[in-house]
Each structure stands twice: as C-alpha cells, then as structure tokens.
Amino acid sequence: MELTSLLNTFLGKVIISVAGVMVVFTFNALIAVWLERKISGHIQLRLGPMEVGPHGLLQSAADGLKLICKEIITPQGVDKKLFGVAPYMVFFPSLLMFIVIPFSDRLQVQDLNIGLLYFFSISCIATIGIFMAGWASNNKYSLMGAVRSIAQSIAYEIPIILSILNIVVLTQSLKLSEIVKAQSNMWFIIPQFVPFIIYLISAIAELNRTPFDIPEAESELVAGFHTEYSGMRFAIFFMAEYTNMFLVSAMATTLFLGGWNGPLLPPIVWFFIKTYAIVFIIIWVRWTFPRLRPDQLMNFCWKFLTPLALINLLVTTFILKLF
C-alpha cells in the first residue's frame, strides 16, 4: 500500500522514469554495438563476434566490463576539470532526450507541449561536450576533430529543422503524442518522403557517423575528440554515440513512421521494430560509403540539402494553404 502511494508521488515517478530510461539506455548500447559488429561483419562476408554467448551476444557486455576495470588515465598537460566533465556533457543530454520519446500511447516520461523543440535543443548541448573534450585534451588532433564537429553540427542542424518543420506545419503541434496520433491513418513518410530522406542524411551527419565522420576520421585525426580518452570515460563517449543513434531513429519513427501505431502487436513492440529498422539503415549506410572530404560535406549541406529542404517546406505550406 505504501509502495503504491509512493509511486504516485512526483518523486516516485522520477525514480521510476530514471530507472526505466537507464535500462533502455544500457540495453540499447549493448544491442546496438552488437548489431553494428554483426551487420558490418556480414556485409564484409565475415561472421562478426561469435565466441562470447550465443552468436556473440554478450560480447559488448564483456567489452564494457573490460573498460570498467581499466585505469582512468589523465594525460599530462590537459585541463583536468574540463577533461573530466566533458564525457558527462556528452552523456547527459542523450539521457535527457529520452524524456519526450513516446514509446507507446501511455509510456512517455513527460509529454511536453514543446517536445520537438526540447528534443532538438537538448541534442545541441552534446556538441559543447565534444568541443570541451577536444579543447581540454591539449592535442592538435582532438582540437581539429572538435572544430570539425562544430562546423558539421551548425551546418546540418538547418536541414534537420527545415525537414521537421514540414511535420509541424502538417500537424500544427510540437507535442510528440499529437504528432503520433495524427499518423493513425497515414504515416507521414508517404506525403513527406523527401523530408524523411533529408532528416536521415542530416541525422547521420549529426551523429558523426561514416560517411560524415570527419570529426573522428581515423586516417587523419587518430580518433578525433576522444583520442586522449581511455577506460570508462571513453566508454561513456561510445555509449552516448550509440544512444544518440537510437534517439535519432526513435525520433524518425515518431515523426515519419507513425510512432507506436500498428496493427496486432502491442504499441511498444511496433515502436522498437520501427526504431531498430532505422538503426539498421544507419549501420547499413555506414558500411557502404567511404568518408567525405570536409569541403564535400559542406557543399552537400549548403548547396543541396538546405535548398531542397527549403523548397519542400514552401511546397508543403503552399499546398496546405490551397486546400
């Protein structure tokens, strides 16, 4: 009896939400890393991890355990405070972004009125963490990686926001639950296919993943902004990266693929099926294309994606005004 009354309080809700988000966070990090290695292996006619657990399913858990056991090394000459704080600056935004994700019709931590705005503004904070890491490392490669990351983020925020504006114009709402409900008859991917593609490309760029991984280009910058990091601090960067991949896919599902709408199966199952389908596409793209040059990256954003997104927004608003 006392437990139920505790759960109904605000504090109880917060505790349960944090626990739930942490569970999704951890399991996603483990499964997404495993998926990445498996898919990359099979695309290259390899098998990927096979030894730990059935088909290597526990490999990422073993790797995580190893990273936890490692000594945390702070190199000489770094800005110790910034160097220590930076991984958490990348990590916490991705935790906060979970708040507005509608996993099912009832499972959502907080259904904010400005959910969409909240999601994309919080996602920008992670870039500051990346710059902190690059600056504090006192390493030219880290700094170059961070600078590139900032340039890329600024450039690709614009097509992302422009492609999302189409959805906002259609539903007249920034509330994610309402956007999902508006798609019960038709998913927005059908009338808004071009924005979906623009969103996906820009999202991959925001995630700093191949073919847009110039901030951590191995052949030029060692590992970019996290060159000097090891042990658990590196693991936090790594986990944040895969969590962001999940979040971006979850947002694509919510905005374009009808969220938790779907027949027969429970809503939450539909949500995860769609999200991991997008995760699969992101991984598939990574193992197909080579890395772009920085100037090609900027050209592609400013000369192709941004104009296309603008034209698309104009057409959408024009059609909406006509009918």
């Binding site: 695309i43 390899r46 197909t288």
Partner: protein, 147 residues
C-alpha cells in the same frame, strides 16, 4: 564537358542506390570465415606437412636403410641421423632419427631423395610447441606426433 548541377544530383542518387544494393546483396551472402579452432580446413592429400617415417605394414617397422641421403640434401640442416654398424656386420643400422621442425623449410627434397621411399610428408600443420626442444622429432615421437 562538365556535368551540370542537376546531372550531378542524378548521378549521386543513382550511385547511392547502386552502392546500397551491393552491400545488401553481400549482407545476405554466406560468410567465408572459418572458425579455426572449432572448424578445420580439409587438407589436400599432397600437402607438405611435417616429415614422418613411413611404417611398413608387413613388418610394422620403418623402412630406413640409413643411407643419409636425406641428411645430406637437407638445405636447412634439419635432419640428423645417428648410425651404428654392429660388429661382424656390414649393414648400417639406424639408431636415432632427428627432424628439427624449427629448422625444416618443408621443401620436400628429403622425400624425393629417399631411395627406398621411407619418409613422407604428413598432413600435420599444427606443430606449435612451448619450447624449442619439443620441436625436434625423434624416432619414438616421429610416429605418434605425425599420425
């Protein structure tokens, strides 16, 4: 002639689809990886593995006549024979036969030079050992190791 902006866009879209299709096709192909300790490759009959003395099925003994042809021809000095001639006999007898797998280059000259076809290559290729001494095969181990 340089391609125009829209031609470039068209080429881009075409090649993106082409590339994605290619990697998806490969994703569904059967992997070629062999999981070595669990799965082992089938070795060809004429593979030049480590040297072994042939056992004569009739006598149950090796056929070596101690002519030392193999010892002389070996370019890596991997083979050493220990020979004794008993009192009152002209026939040489093989006392010990050493093959140092650490030196052997698996060239097969010893097998070719044997007049009585007493030695051969086995299919054994997993010859790693923890000490150099274990790499030297003797008359008593040359059979059991190279089954």
């Amino acid at each position: 002639m340089k391609a125009s902006y829209f031609e470039k866009v068209g080429i881009g879209i075409r090649t993106v689809i082409k590339g994605m299709k290619k990697s998806l096709v490969y994703f569904f192909k059967k992997p070629v990886t062999l999981q070595y300790p669990h799965q082992k490759k089938v070795i060809a009959d004429r593979y030049r593995g480590s040297i072994r003395l042939k056992i004569d099925p009739q006598t149950g003994k090796h056929k070596c006549i101690a002519c030392t042809n193999c010892e002389k021809i070996c370019p890596a000095f991997a083979i050493t024979l220990k020979i004794e001639t008993p009192e009152g006999s002209k026939k040489k007898e093989l006392k010990e036969y050493y093959v140092d797998l650490g030196k052997c280059i698996y060239c097969g000259l010893c097998v070719d030079s044997c007049p009585v076809d007493a030695i051969e290559h086995s299919n054994v290729y997993e010859v790693a050992e923890r000490s150099k001494e274990n790499l030297i095969l003797r008359l008593d181990t040359i059979g059991e190791k190279n089954v």
